[in-house]
Every structure is written in C-alpha cells, then in structure tokens.
C-alpha cells in the first residue's frame, strides 16, 4: 500500500492516530445515549476482528499445515481429514445419516477424554492443597525427605479461617437432601453469605479491569493522539481541554433534556 502511494507512506502514522481518535470518540458516544455513530463503529470493529480472524487462520494455520504440504510437498494424505469432516453433512440425508453419526461419535469421544484430562490435571491438584495444617509447628524434614516449612501462629489461624470457609461453602452445595439439621442449616447459610463476599470481590475486580480499559483509551487520546498528532508538549493539554469542553456540552444537554422532561 505504501509503495502505491508515497503520500500515504509519509502520513501513515498520522492517519492511524486520527482514525484511532475518531474510533475511540465514536465508541464513547454510547455513554451519552444510543446512536448511529456508535453502531457504525461497533460494527466496524466487529467486522475487522472477524476479517482478521479469518485471514490469520488461513495464513498461520491452513497455509503452512495443509495448503503448502499438500500442493508443494505432495502430502496427498492430508486430504483425508477433509473427507472425514465432510461426513458431518450426511446428517441431512436419511439414508446416510449413520455416516455423520460416526464422525459425531468420534469427536464426542475425543472431547469427553479431553474433559476428563482437564478435570484431573486442573482440579485434582487443588484438592490436596485444600487440606491445610491448623497446628503451629517448626520447620522439619518429613519421612520421605520433603522439607516442611515452619507454620507460625498467624499462619495457623489463617488456615483455620480457610478451612471454616471451605466447609461452609461446600455445605451450601449439599442439594441431595433437605438441609434440616441445625448444624448443616447454619453452615449452609454462612456458606451462602461467604459466596456473596467472594462474588463482591470478583465484581470489584471486574470494575478495576473495566477502568483499566478506559484509562488506556484516555491515555491514547491525551498522549498518543494529543502528543502525536497535535503538539508534542501542548497536545495532551489541548486534548484535555477539548475533552473537558465535550464533557461540559454533554452535561449541558443532559440538564437541558431533564428540564424539558420536567416541564412536560
């Protein structure tokens, strides 16, 4: 593209900054209200992402792993998985639907095996790590030669809290029978509360994540665009002033609309 137009080659970085700025502000316009500018940029982003996915899947996967070996190196046997994949379409034929079922059964088997492997490798190691010592002790060497670190009084209290929370939360998930016994009833009730605390913490973390994305875009508008496309030193401050003006406009319009609604 740059060899096609020398002008483009010289202004590519600047163009990127301007496009980035318009895309960012266009997407931010949803913060005021639903509008067509936002919809346009949203669809643009989705379309580009999808196009990018298709091209990269071809260039990084299909091209080196199938296309080149098949056509250039003569690895003709690579055609067989494609035929096997095409068997899926026999699902539309009453006579040959059994062929589709063969492929489906094959992939169900693979997926089940993988799910089992995932369960064993990902979750099982977490079970023994949930059993924690609750009595303080000095560092020592176990019978099998493993070095066991010292457990302080504070560490032991921490482990007790962990065990109590774990048992309470687990008791909440006993759904096979009615939780009538006062011990089980109360621990399950506490388990529910403790789960709520955890969800609250996760939600707080989610807010932090979303803010990070906003900060990234604001930094781009101020330093990236302001410093790159307007002026190296004053550009960020000029962008800050523009953003403050736009924000003021939004607040003015909000207030005006609210006053109009109140009058009606």
């Amino acid at each position: 593209m740059t060899s096609f137009s020398p002008w483009l080659a010289g202004h590519l970085e600047m163009l990127k900054l301007w496009i980035g700025m318009f895309c960012t502000l266009g997407l931010f316009s949803i913060l005021y209200r639903e509008n067509k500018v936002y919809r346009f940029f949203e669809h643009l982003f989705l379309g580009i992402s999808m196009g990018y996915l298709i091209v990269n899947t071809f260039t990084d996967n299909i091209l080196p792993k199938f296309w080149e070996p098949f056509w250039e190196k003569g690895e003709w046997w690579l055609i067989f998985p494609i035929f096997v994949g095409l068997f899926y379409y026999f699902i539309f034929s009453q006579k040959f639907a059994w062929l589709a079922r063969l492929v489906i059964a094959f992939f169900l088997g693979i997926t089940s095996g993988r799910a089992f492997k995932a369960y064993v490798n990902d979750y099982w190691p977490q079970i023994p790590s949930s059993f924690k010592p609750v009595v303080p002790h000095d560092a020592f060497t176990a019978a099998d030669g493993t070095q066991i670190a010292e457990l302080t009084r504070g560490g032991a209290i921490n482990n007790v809290i962990f065990m109590v929370i774990l048992l309470c939360v687990m008791s909440y998930f006993f759904f096979s029978f009615e939780q009538k016994h006062p011990v089980l009833k109360n621990t399950a009730k506490w388990g529910r509360w403790l789960l709520m605390f955890a969800f609250g913490a996760i939600f707080g973390s989610t807010i932090m994540g979303r803010l990070a994305l906003l900060i990234d875009r604001v930094t781009f508008l101020l330093k990236g665009f302001g410093g790159g496309a307007i002026h190296k030193d004053y550009g960020p401050w000029i962008m800050f002033a523009i953003m403050a003006f736009l924000t003021g406009m939004v607040l003015y319009l909000t207030r005006k609309n609210a006053a109009k609604e109140e009058a009606q």
Binding site: S49, D60, N61, P125, P128, A212, L222
Partner: protein, 280 residues
C-alpha cells in the same frame, strides 16, 4: 432540586464526565502513590529471577485489543524481565490480534536489550484449537509449529537449539484475557511439570488464585495493579504505574458517590420521619 434528592438521582452521564476528568488528570500530571507488592507478584518475579541465562521460556500471549489496557503493560513488564535475564523465549498466541500486537512489543524492547529475532526470541504466531494444539506441541514443538511468523522453518532457528519437546521449556508464562491459562495447566504445565506464571485481567485473576495455592502457578499479575507492582520490582516506571494512580482516583470517586448516595438516602428518610410523613 433538593441536594439530598440530587445525590440519590445523579445522572449516570454526570458520573461518566467526572470519571473522565478524574482519570485524565493523573495521566497529564503524574501523582506517585505508595504501592505494596502482593505475594503473587513477588513470587512470579522471584521465579523469573531464578532463571539461568539462555533458558527457554514459552510466553503465551493470548490477548487482543479488547484487553489491551491490562494485558499490554503486563507483557511489557514480563518481557523486559526475560530480556534482562538474557533468556530465550517464544511467543505463542491463541488470539489472532495477539500475533502482531506482541510482535511490536518485542521489536520495541529488543533494541534496548540487544535481542535479535530468530536468535534470542521467536514468534510462533497465531494457532487455533488450543487443546488439540498443545497435546501435539508438548511432544514435538518443531513438528507442530513448522514455521514462525516470518515464514522461517522453526527447526533452522538458533533460538530453538536444544528445544525439542515441552521438557526443554524451563518456564511457562501466559498473559491472557481468556481461560487459556487453564488449558496450559491441563495440557502443558501438569503433564510436563513446568513452572508456570500468569498475567491475567482483573476479571480473570480471582479465579486463578486457587492455582497459586496448589502450586500449579508459581505467581501471577492481576490486572493493571499487578503490572504496576511488577514495574516497581523491575525499577522501571512504565505505563501501568501512571495508570494505577488514575485507577485509584477513579475507585475513590466511585466509593465517594456510593457513600454520598447512601448517606443522602438515610438523611432524607430521617427528615421525612421528623416531618411526620415518611415510613417508620
């Protein structure tokens, strides 16, 4: 409008406007805040610090534009540390945009540390179907990847010398905004017993902490604050350090409005009771 009523019915656009200003100001005027490094970050730093020169690290980078605000600074910090330690690394992406985004970061940092693509690092590019891919990758790295993103055969690159299977990987990192870290644990970390660290978005991090307890992961960076802590350990102020001030101010604003809204609600309730026409 009564101030108590106003505080309970603040238009969301007013909050957005204030949020924008509160975030923008620290970007322009850096305000350093004290920071405490969490054990999870410290542990990841110590593990990478323990690597020897020329060790081979697999650097999973499955993030795209959607989580750039968090994942980019994590990638910068971790890659900088790897280059300081003079270890070899390979970038591997299961997200199409990650291929180019991380290539740019590596190209930018390599100038600073004298790294050369193909000699000290390589980009394996974007791969599909992580589960199936990693099963084959663990047993035969060169045969599974075949070519890097420049089109060079993997086996001919100097960076891959002595690296045949996952057993030759000394450390595994996954910076991600998805659940790819779980698949790494299942198909690479556990079967080959590779020490693993992660850089996760703040949304994902709480779900990964139990993997620290079980030592499936030796450490992790949680969101923007994780990268800021890592920058502190590296002694190199980057974009995350400044952004964490904006983040702190934005949180204070949210907390202030939650408190003000609730206080206003209780005060108004009391006022109505005192005047004799409110609920008791």
């Amino acid at each position: 409008m009564n101030i108590l009523r106003f505080l309970q019915e603040v238009d969301r656009r007013v909050l957005y406007a204030l949020m924008l200003l509160v975030i923008a100001f620290p970007v322009l005027v850096p305000i350093p805040l004290p920071m405490k490094v969490s054990p999870a970050t410290q542990s990841l730093y110590d593990s990478i610090e323990g690597l020897k020169e020329n060790d081979f690290v697999l650097f999973g980078v499955s993030w795209g534009a959607g989580t750039r605000g968090e994942s980019r600074s994590q990638t910068y910090a971790l890659m900088r540390h790897l280059m300081r330690k003079k270890v070899r690394f390979a970038l591997l992406a299961f997200e199409p945009q990650a291929k180019v985004l991380n290539q740019k970061i590596a190209e930018e940092l390599q100038k600073e540390y004298g790294y050369v693509e193909g000699v000290n690092w390589v980009n394996f590019g974007y791969q599909i179907d992580q589960e199936n891919f990693l099963q084959g990758f663990g047993k035969d790295i060169v045969g599974t990847i075949k070519k890097d993103i420049e089109g060079n055969p993997i086996g001919s690159l100097k960076v891959m010398e002595g690296v045949q299977t996952a057993k030759d990987i000394k450390f595994l990192i996954d910076v991600t905004g998805s659940r790819s870290f779980e698949v790494y644990i299942t198909f690479l970390q556990q079967p080959f017993n590779i020490p693993m660290g992660g850089g996760l978005t703040a949304v994902m991090a709480p779900e990964a902490y139990n993997r620290l307890d079980s030592r499936q992961m030796v450490g992790l960076l949680g969101g923007l604050s994780g990268s800021a802590e890592y920058e502190k350990l590296l002694g190199k102020t980057g974009e995350a350090t400044g952004a964490s001030t904006s983040s702190a101010f934005a949180h204070l604003l949210i907390i202030a409005f939650i408190l003000l809204g609730n206080v206003a609600m209780f005060l108004e309730k009391r006022q109505r009771q005192r005047m004799g026409y409110g609920e008791k």
